[in-house]
């Protein structure tokens, strides 16, 4: 028997790689759930608004100034019949009261005489009889 003895190859467990990490094989049903949620919806209020109004001012006649004129009838043949006529008051201007203040309204030019028109009187005036004095 020699001094040196070569033993047969022996294979020990430590030649193997270490065991892999251990995980749970069974999947947990309540794990890994994907969730989509959220939101904060509110009512959307749609407003409809309508507004209408009217206002007016009123003028009160105090005195009017006028001329007086007469218009004769013109026959069909163009001649005048001075026995038949109409008399008119031709307004020259009116004074109004608006909120207690006197205002002169629109003024008109004097009425012009014509063949069949005769100015009887000018510069006449008449107060509003409805006004209390």
């Amino acid at each position: 028997m020699g001094f040196e003895v070569v033993v047969r190859p022996a294979v020990f467990p430590n030649i193997r790689p270490p065991a892999a990490r251990a995980l749970s094989i069974e999947d947990a049903p309540d794990k890994g759930i994907a969730s989509i949620s959220g939101g904060n919806s509110q009512l959307v209020d749609l407003t409809y608004t309508m507004s209408s109004s009217w206002s007016r001012s009123r003028m009160v006649e105090v005195i009017r100034h006028y001329d007086k004129a007469r218009i004769y009838y013109t026959r069909p043949d163009g001649t005048l019949d001075r026995d038949q006529y109409w008399e008119f008051e031709v307004l020259r201007s009116i004074e109004f009261l608006e909120n207690g203040t006197t205002k002169i309204g629109q003024q008109f030019a004097p009425f012009q005489e014509l063949d069949n028109v005769e100015i009887i009187d000018r510069g006449l005036s008449r107060k509003n009889p409805d006004l209390q004095s």
């Binding site: 028997m1 020699g2 001094f3 040196e4 003895v5 070569v6 033993v7 047969r8 190859p9 294979v11 467990p13 430590n14 030649i15 193997r16 790689p17 270490p18 065991a19 892999a20 749970s24 094989i25 999947d27 049903p29 794990k31 890994g32 759930i33 994907a34 969730s35 989509i36 949620s37 959220g38 939101g39 904060n40 919806s41 509110q42 009512l43 959307v44 209020d45 749609l46 407003t47 409809y48 608004t49 309508m50 507004s51 209408s52 109004s53 009217w54 206002s55 007016r56 001012s57 009123r58 009160v60 006649e61 109004f96 009261l97 608006e98 205002k103 309204g105 629109q106 006004l131 209390q132």
Partner: protein, 673 residues
């Protein structure tokens, strides 16, 4: 020279070739024993006359400058039995006339030789580095694990080789019992049974890898298709009274184990922005006399486009008044002005129509294990009355490295599983080689342990020069019959007392039944084999030969996993684990609101009718309606849940590999003895 004459020559280490010059007598050999057993180097014990110098003084055998190598030869008549060895240890009986020297035929570079040889043996299927710890791969002893072989030290050249334990590589030495040289001596014949044969090896192995993959799966169509709706919507459109585009998961948001949103889009199909339209008119009339009349009208309308299925709540009048103002002048009282105001509020709960896309990105890292079981049975003669009593060996604890990680370096580097996305390793070509390695492991044990019969005999000296441990021997002897076995040891000895030379050879004989296995093509599972070749598709009932002694059925991939095949394009159907569940979808939300919130406006009981026409309480009722709706929606918030298959889950699949019996040579037939 006469047979039986020994030669002994001290030589330098460099004299590795025996020449006639070594046939000398540097020492007077009184006796010697040269023996070698399987797996060991040969050793020589020589008893020589104590060497002296010319002055008659003893020579120090271990003195500096002394040669420690020797060539020893014994003339066997037909050839020389040669031995080259190195003096080892301290000579015994050093002060006596006869000194015992011990030599061993062990190469001085045994480590380097073994390392170099081991590198050549690292071939599949006999050596599978995936089941060897990286720290132990350089260990040369490990490589023989799958071989039925053992180291062999040549007693002359000191060349290290391996030799099969059943089938010697250098031929057969026959002792036929007929020829003169083929006879063995009557004395010295022996037969022993070393142990019972190993009948079965049960082996389990774990192959692990990390299934790795990454990519995206389009989920938008799946989610929209399975999303409940009040009426049919287009693909990729979902509806809810609460969920809006802002709530859709954004890129990077988690979707489960190993999942996150890769890319997503969401936008509302309908613009629900409230727009306001105002209209105004004013008319002033100046009369002839300077008087004026002023008429004004204005309106404001909020409007929006109510998406389909939106809920519209009836109007609540918040203002409805009018007033006439009178004035007095010099003519008396008159109506000077008039004003009326009207407002109402209609409420809308818009239905969100969201066009969505969602690409779910996965990063898989799933530990996978394949548990391979093999039960290999040896076809051996039973030496026990009940074959069930035969010894079985269990090999456990065989584990692989991570098969998805690179092994080796440089050009030799490779990933054992090839593609880390695979679901199975053992069914791959490389995996089949691992199966074959396991068979090689079990087969090696069975073959080694089948050599139950050990026969020793004494051949004639003339045959001893032929004997090496790389040969088989065949013997016919009337007392034992015929036997063939591997030479497992020999002894050649000279007894100086009587000058007798003893020769002994020991052989180990397997007690198998012989025969060989036959391959079977099996049945292809896809198409005729000729169409694609044998390595393209899977087969059933197929037997592939490991070698002529054993075959196995390559396993078909049958992973016990969740079915995801990362090698193909994944769809939602592939990855959905738990289907989409919608809590409080639009249908349920609508029903809840209709059940709990009054939808009308004008005839809201029990509020008195008058209060509606004169809406002092309108703001309270508007607030109440809004609160009611908010509370209902809070309790009925849409929530969508689903579960994607885990990308971190571990899977384990058992494979029971079907194998044939291991055919073992009949070295000795115990059944005819």
């Amino acid at each position: 020279m006469p047979a039986g004459l020994p030669y002994f020559a001290w030589v330098d280490a460099s004299e590795t070739t025996f020449t006639s010059g070594h046939m000398r007598w540097d020492e007077n050999v009184f006796s010697f024993t040269c023996e070698q057993s399987e797996g060991d180097p040969a050793n020589l014990t020589v008893v020589v006359k104590r060497p002296r110098n010319v002055s008659g003084d003893p020579i120090g055998l271990l003195g500096p400058g002394r040669k420690i190598w020797c060539w020893f030869a014994l003339d066997c008549g037909t050839a020389l039995f040669k031995f080259r060895g190195r003096l080892v240890g301290v000579p015994t009986s050093i002060f006596e006339e006869l000194v015992t020297l011990e030599f061993v035929a062990r190469p001085f570079d045994v480590v380097a030789q073994k390392q170099a040889l081991a590198e050549t043996l690292k071939v599949l299927p006999f050596y599978d580095e995936v089941v060897i710890d990286p720290e132990r791969r350089s260990d040369p002893e490990v490589v023989l694990e799958g071989y039925s072989a053992i180291w062999h030290y040549d007693r002359e050249t000191h060349m290290l080789t391996i030799s099969d334990e059943l089938d010697g590589e250098d031929g057969l030495i026959e002792f036929d019992g007929a020829s003169e040289a083929g006879k063995v001596l009557y004395d010295g014949l022996g037969l022993t049974l070393t142990s019972g044969p190993l009948a079965r090896v049960d082996l389990t192995a774990e192959y692990t890898w990390t299934q790795q993959a990454y990519g995206t799966v389009e989920l938008g169509k799946y989610l929209s298709k399975n999303w409940p709706s009040i009426y049919a919507t287009q693909p990729y459109v979902i509806t809810s009274y609460t969920l809006s585009a802002d709530n859709w998961p954004k890129a990077g948001a988690g979707l489960g184990d190993g999942w996150e949103v890769g890319e997503s889009t969401a936008w509302d199909l309908y613009d629900t922005q409230v727009r306001n339209i105002k209209s105004e008119s004013e008319t002033t009339v100046k009369w002839y006399d300077g008087a004026t009349t002023n008429v004004k009208h204005s309106a404001s309308v909020d409007s929006m486009f109510a998406p389909p299925a939106s809920l519209v709540f009836g109007p609540i009048v918040t203002a409805n008044d009018y007033k006439t103002t009178y004035a007095r002048d010099e003519l008396g009282e008159y109506a000077a002005s008039f004003q009326s105001n009207f407002s109402q509020v209609v409420s809308v709960l818009p239905m969100h129509h969201i066009q969505v896309t969602l690409n779910a990105a996965y990063t898989a890292g799933r530990p996978c294990t394949e548990l391979v079981s093999i039960s290999l049975v040896a076809d051996v003669q039973h030496i026990l009355t009940d074959p069930e009593d035969g010894e079985a060996l269990r090999l456990d604890g065989i584990k692989s490295v991570n098969l998805s990680e690179t092994i080796g370096e440089g050009e030799a580097a490779y990933v054992p599983i090839g593609d880390a996305r695979r679901r199975s390793y053992i069914a791959t070509a490389r995996g089949n080689q691992s199966v074959e390695h396991l068979i090689a492991l079990a087969r090696a044990h069975l073959l080694k342990r089948s050599r139950v019969v050990e026969i020793s005999f004494a051949p004639k000296l003339s045959r001893m020069a032929e004997i090496t441990l790389r040969k088989n021997a065949f013997i016919i002897e009337p007392r034992i019959g015929e036997a063939t076995g591997k030479v497992i040891g020999y002894t050649l000895a000279l007894d100086g007392a009587d000058g007798r030379i003893d020769c002994e050879v020991r052989i180990g004989c397997a007690i198998g039944r012989g025969g060989s296995q036959v391959a079977s093509g099996g049945d292809p599972t896809y198409c005729e084999e000729a169409y694609t070749g044998a390595d393209y598709q899977q087969f059933t009932a197929r037997t592939v030969l490991f070698d002529t002694s054993v075959g196995y059925a390559p396993p078909n991939a049958d992973p016990n996993d969740d079915g995801i095949n990362f090698l193909s394009t994944l769809t939602a159907a592939d990855v959905i684990d738990q289907p989409l569940v919608i809590e409080n979808g639009p249908v349920a939300q609508r029903a809840a609101i209709l059940d709990n919130v009054y939808m009308g406006g004008w005839s809201l009981p029990p509020v008195p009718f008058a209060s509606i026409l004169f809406p002092e309480t309108a703001q309270e009722r508007l607030q109440a309606r809004s609160t009611d709706v908010a509370n209902v929606l809070k309790e009925h918030e849409t929530k969508a849940t689903f579960k994607l298959k885990s990308m971190t889950r571990e899977f384990s699949t058992p494979y029971d590999i079907q194998v044939t019996d291991v055919k073992i040579p009949t070295g000795y037939d115990l059944e005819v003895v």
